[in-house]
Symmetry: C2
Subunit: 413 residues, 2 copies
């Protein structure tokens, strides 16, 4: 029988309050960019919380933080849970932080239960805080977990630069999280608890979602080069305005979604204009576009059309260079682990909804390391990546309870 | 007879070299934003050059720098020349700096000539460096001259903020140019020497342009408000993307010019996207558009169409607020002064071309203070507001000679 009382919901809420103070924004959200000073404080908080519980933190070269509760001896495989403490520039207080704070509660609760003889552990239990999940300060996203999974080289990750030319390696060193440790060598499964960031759970009245799989995602950067000139005297025929093809691409990307009735998700979230001065014809524009879809054929068609459109906009005077920076195919999480989560949720009194994640998460790179899966709790209004992001305390508690029950079953299996 | 040998062309070129070092960019241009550290160094350079010649500098509250050579006693009116030392973010080395450096040479040459008895002065001769001509760091442009002319309140000017929220007043204080002096109380005429920033002089083989007048200019800021959301899970129908109307406006502004065959000049030089993160649907976009035309009716029609278009793009979910920030009518410079410049140019051996300025200049606000006019020299390829801006040394010398001859006639009149 699951011990649904073992999670300290008050302490979980208190932890989220404390984390939300690191980079708090006026609107009640957070600005806690990867490896910035606020992220450093959040990391210090986590390290201190773990130290107070007698748990040491290992930091790997890309700043991923690991702590392992040895429930079954030093050589036992590790069941890993966690998420990320970095946020979007104007993000919410739950995205990522919830999975870390609830993972910590679940870990402490289970360790207590094992010590009290209420659970026979055959595996150890680990908590992780992944570096640069958001991809907001450094690109690409889910960088720390991708390095841990061996999908991305450490040197490549450390050499990624932010908008000011600071590398991830320099930023991590500045906050003291460019470590030399390794993560746990034997991870037997990975479970990540996260807010849904979509409307399905709320709409259908479910507290718990079992994430079946992820949509396919393709990301692009268009680098458009024109020529700077005075916006006053320069004749129109002699202007080489890099912003014009950028504007065409913004509308084209949207039109591709509209043509599918919205089945294809698309966005241009970022557009850098250089030099971005009112009196200067834009010399350069960098545009970041993405598509997401369940259907691989729909995604591939959108990508091909964007490539063709970009090529058609290129002229001798204004060149458009399009590069695909991400090609994440649609995929599924481990079926056995999904079923185990569903059973755990039902046993805790929360019959789950089977959902998909449109967003990327660290659990996706982790699929290549071990069986991985995710648990979702509702997001009010489906809103995320916004200061008004909100999940009700009862939902937060329910998620932590189901996570603890899932981990209990994995640790004792 | 004009004394065409009185200008020290080598020293003028050397001055331009020295000024170009303050904020030098890799491509050979300058980044010397108004009241930034580089502008501070350029101002210090000017102050030191004047001090070495026994000329004191007065700095007014908005940072305009004035020096007066007393050729005709302390109470005589002042014939003023000069330009500005600030630049665009990726600007050239001649725009503004040339008018200051050549004005200094002309002033020193005339003072020498008066002292030697070669010229009977009835007026004094002043040099000015105006603050924030470019409008690149602070908006609007020609701010210092507009304050001097009484067109803009000092407090308004000092409270203008840059992209980081720093006010002009704070920036001037930081570099030591938030002064308490007043400019010369009696200015009898203003003559500004500048590069053309257009192709006409080069195209027609003229060294000197007499500027007849200025085109009309209208500037707008569109503030577009949507709602931030995750670019992943948020359904398309629920996105409130502020970048979409911005893209429509960029293309609409260009289409208005195309419809006139290019007679209407237009641009969107700046577009701020907020938060500008790849994973976030843009919550806000601020777009800076402008139109320029000789024909007032054409300009008015473009403005009206833009207003209507912006209104049509506004929806309950994404609002478009358009504000006109500049309405500078087409106008002419003082006819008598224009003729005087033309005669001086011809007397120096440089028969002039009559041209118009499309760009704004400090001589435009100064028209409301006293008879004002401008002298242009060629810009290679018509290029300006770009690192590759270039004017040949012979053209620079010719401009300075004609400026000195013009000032000689004004001072002795």
């Amino acid at each position: 029988m699951p011990d649904t009382a073992m999670i300290d919901a008050d302490r979980l809420n208190h932890s989220l309050d404390e984390l939300a103070a690191f980079g708090r924004s006026e609107g009640g959200g957070v600005r806690r960019l990867c490896a910035g000073p606020e992220d450093g404080k959040a990391r210090d908080w986590l390290r201190a919380r773990l130290a107070a519980e007698g748990l040491a933190v290992k930091v790997d070269p890309v700043g991923n933080m690991f702590a392992v509760a040895e429930l079954a001896g030093p050589d036992a495989p590790v069941v890993l849970t966690g998420s990320h403490l970095d946020s979007q520039p104007s993000g919410g207080r739950y995205d990522g932080a919830y999975g870390v704070a609830a993972g910590l509660e679940a870990l402490l609760a289970l360790r207590k239960r094992v010590k009290a003889g209420g659970l026979a552990a055959k595996r150890n239990l680990g908590l992780v805080n992944w570096t640069n999940e958001e991809g907001a300060r450094f690109s690409p996203s889910t960088l720390g977990s991708a390095v841990f999974a061996g999908l991305v080289a450490t040197d490549f990750a450390l050499s990624r630069t932010d908008g000011d030319g600071v590398t991830l390696g320099e930023a991590l060193s500045a906050i003291g999280y460019h470590g030399a440790d390794r993560g746990p060598p034997k991870v037997s499964s990975y479970v990540e608890l996260h807010i849904e960031q979509g409307p399905e759970l709320e709409r259908t009245g479910h507290r718990i979602g079992v994430v079946e799989g992820n949509w396919g995602t393709a990301k692009f950067v268009a680098d458009i080069r024109g020529r700077a000139a005075h916006t006053g005297p320069t004749p129109m025929a002699e202007r080489r305005d890099a912003l014009l093809p950028a504007a065409e691409l913004v509308l084209f990307v949207r039109a591709l979604s509209d043509a599918t009735g919205g089945a294809l998700l698309s966005s241009v979230g970022r557009l850098d204009v250089i030099p971005n001065s009112t009196n200067v014809v834009p010399a350069q524009a960098r545009l970041f576009a993405e598509f997401r879809a369940v259907d691989p054929a729909m995604l591939a068609e959108a990508c091909a059309k964007l490539v063709a459109k970009a090529a058609s906009l290129s002229t001798p005077g204004v060149t458009v260079a399009l590069e695909q920076t991400l090609d994440r195919p649609a995929g599924t999480f481990d079926p056995g682990l999904r079923d185990l989560i569903a059973q755990a949720a039902s046993a805790c009194g929360y019959p789950p909804l089977r959902v998909h994640t449109v967003a990327g998460h660290d659990a996706i790179p982790m699929k290549t390391v071990c069986p991985s899966a995710m648990i979702f709790v509702p997001s009010a209004g489906g809103v995320s990546h916004h200061e008004s992001e909100f999940t009700a305390p009862e939902d937060l508690a329910a998620g932590a309870i189901v996570l603890a029950e899932t981990l209990a079953r994995l640790v004792s299996a």
